[in-house]
């Protein structure tokens, strides 16, 4: 319906986001070479989370779109993480 308030991302901004993502990928690959035990998993997941947030915010436009979309996305993630958490009530204590 209303198209006027559409935010248009510039080519440059997309390019910067892409470079950021590739650098993060590089870091993620490099850091696994370092032996840190269980911390490896944690670091890999944190970096993947950072990459995912960048994709969500810029490529998927959550930063500029209706805030509702961002709220819903957060809600879905919370539900997923809680389900994961509750499932491990079983597996961690079996």
């Amino acid at each position: 319906m209303s198209q006027e308030k559409q935010h248009i991302s510039s080519y440059t901004s997309h390019f910067v986001v892409l470079i950021t993502l590739i650098i993060l990928t590089g870091i993620s690959v490099a850091v696994t070479r370092v032996e840190m035990g269980p911390l490896n998993t944690l670091v890999a997941m944190i970096i993947a989370g950072a990459k995912a947030s960048v994709v969500l915010a810029w490529f998927m436009h959550l930063k500029f779109d209706n805030k509702l979309f961002a709220i819903f996305t957060a809600l879905v993630l919370v539900i997923f993480l809680l389900v994961l958490y509750v499932t491990f009530f079983d597996y961690s204590y079996r």
Binding site: L68, V76, I79, L82, V83, V86, T87, F89, D90, Y91, S92, Y93, R94
Partner: protein
């Protein structure tokens, strides 16, 4: 909207003619009202089928030993009865029929947000049904129970794949409806209808739609993995290959517990619509009902483990799930208090929809309170997998969803068909159905406590007495269903004509349009200024 309509005002949606004629004009129509009725007719057929299967099982159980069928047939019967009733009837049930028909009317919209997607979801639904039923012709009826528990579901000699695939496809239909409803409510409420002026049936549909969107993919992937397990042997749920069958149960119930709220929440919405109209009173605690619906939807995600108390979970998980289960009882109880308080000192109008609604509260309370017996660990171990469980979930699923479905049907019938049913027959049907229902299911609580296990075609002689009563109840209940259906079907064609817009004196928007509604629902877009249910 367009000039073509100005000459056609007051042509009901049942009569107008679009591009296609006759049957095609229905199965290709994107009109939300016609889609709703398509669902209704489809469900009528399959509900009757599955109800007959249920009756046959009860006849088998009328005496110990083999009465009319052997064990394999009995296993197939309860499986197919379960699959049809759960995936084809009660999960889509209220949203697909009454949600489709009345959601746009109640929020003052012309249609749902994606009408073509809406029609597609019916087609997907039909394809899903056909896939499920095709199992009869390729490899025999499934015999795993509707839960498809691993590892039996990939070891059983009968071909379970059509059933798994069919349920998977039915999930898609459910997701499409959910997406459609959420967008409709966000984008298409008429001017003045703020969120907190929205009637309660749409509100419960909103909570339901979120569950449909967020829980259905879980069963989708679980069924798909079971298919892969059977076809390729990936080993994910196969204990012989290192998989954990209990993980299957986790995933299955991560969907299937919230699915119980897909079934019951819209029913609660229907009751919240009917009671104020027939009590001539404002609903008590509108916001409490709204918030408790959302709370049920949210907390309902985290209680699935109560189906697995004897499966071998860790002790810690048992406590956690038991606690969370008790937590989710609170918002349900809040609703019961609200309904009772709505009727308190109201001027009650004793009509058929009201009878169904009040009996709903009664059976829902029995179902809910016995749910607490199952939710607490010590008693659960005693009655797990007995007829107690069967009675409990029939009180919730059939008593809850079924009674509210009937209530909705009798409440909105004049609006949908422009005719009124025979009230005497409707009330007679209700009395016979209700007493048959109680006679059928109440003895099963007792049998369960005595220790009669579920899912067997045979039982020890000491359980004979209770089973006779229960089976006779089943016959009475089917007779009641028959009376209700025959009355409604007959009346939809020959019943007394209703032309007034608002036969019950309702305050919500659907009563302010023509009876039956026209193609586009409104001549002029309605505007809302006050809360729903404002009775002076």
């Amino acid at each position: 909207m367009s000039e073509t309509n100005t000459t056609n005002q007051h042509v009901s949606f049942l009569k107008y003619q679009g591009k296609y004629k006759g049957l095609l004009g229905w199965i290709l129509s994107t009109d939300h009202k016609r889609v709703g009725l398509l669902y209704l007719y489809t469900m009528l057929v399959f509900f009757s089928t599955a109800a007959i299967l249920g009756l046959l099982m009860k006849l088998e159980l009328i005496a110990p030993g083999m009465t009319i069928m052997g064990p394999q047939t009995y296993n197939a019967m309860f499986t197919v009865h379960g699959i049809i009733m759960i995936f084809i009837i009660v999960v889509p049930g209220l949203p697909a029929v009454f949600g489709n028909f009345f959601l746009p009317l109640m929020i003052g919209a012309k249609d749902v947000a994606f009408p073509r997607l809406n029609l597609l979801s019916w087609w997907v639904y039909v394809i899903g049904i056909l896939t499920v039923l095709s199992s009869q012709f390729i490899g025999g009826w499934p015999d795993t129970g509707w839960t498809f528990y691993a590892p039996y579901s990939f070891r059983t000699p009968v071909n379970i794949l059509p059933a798994l695939f069919g349920a998977f496809i039915l999930g898609f239909s459910s997701i499409l409806t959910g997406i459609n409803f959420i967008v409709t409510m966000h984008r298409m409420r008429c001017p003045g209808m703020t969120w907190f002026k929205m009637p309660l049936f749409p509100w419960t549909l909103y909570a339901t739609a979120w569950i449909q969107v967020l829980a259905t993919p879980v069963i989708g992937i679980t069924l798909l993995l079971t298919v892969m397990e059977r076809v390729m042997g990936v080993g994910i749920f196969n204990p012989a290959m290192g998989g954990d069958p209990i993980l299957y149960q986790h995933l299955f119930w991560i969907y299937s517990h919230p699915a119980v709220y897909i079934m019951i929440l819209p029913g609660m919405g229907v009751i919240s619509e009917i009671l104020p109209v027939f009590s001539r009173k404002r609903i008590y605690g509108y916001k409490a009902i709204v918030l408790s619906s959302l709370a049920i939807a949210f907390v309902g995600y985290f209680v699935w483990g109560h189906h697995m108390f004897t499966s071998g979970m860790s002790g810690r998980a048992l406590y956690a799930f038991s606690f969370l289960t008790f937590l989710v009882a609170i918002p349900s109880a809040i609703k019961v208090f609200n309904w009772v308080s709505t009727m308190y000192k109201g001027s009650l109008n004793l009509q058929t929809p009201f009878y169904w609604a009040v009996s709903f509260i009664f059976v829902f309370m029995i179902g809910g309170l016995t749910g607490l017996v199952l939710g607490s660990l010590a008693t659960n171990v005693h009655v797990h997998d007995t007829h107690f469980v069967v009675a409990h979930f029939h009180f919730i699923v059939f008593g809850g969803t079924g009674f509210s479905f009937m209530a909705a049907l009798h409440y909105w019938f004049p609006k949908m068909f422009g005719r009124m049913y025979d009230r005497t027959w409707a009330n007679t049907g209700w009395v016979i159905f209700f007493s048959g229902f109680l006679t059928l299911y109440l003895p099963m609580f007792y049998l369960g406590i005595l220790g009669m296990p579920r899912r067997y075609y045979d039982y020890l002689p000491e359980f004979h007495g209770g089973n006779i009563i229960s089976s006779l109840g089943a016959i009475a209940m089917i007779a009641g269903i028959l009376i209700v259906f025959v009355n409604l079907i007959r009346s939809s064609r020959h019943g007394e004509k209703v032309t007034e817009k608002n036969p019950w004196g309702g305050r919500t928007l659907e009563w302010q349009t023509d009876t039956p509604p026209t193609l586009e629902n409104w001549e002029t877009e309605p505007t809302v200024t006050e809360q729903p249910y404002e009775y002076k």
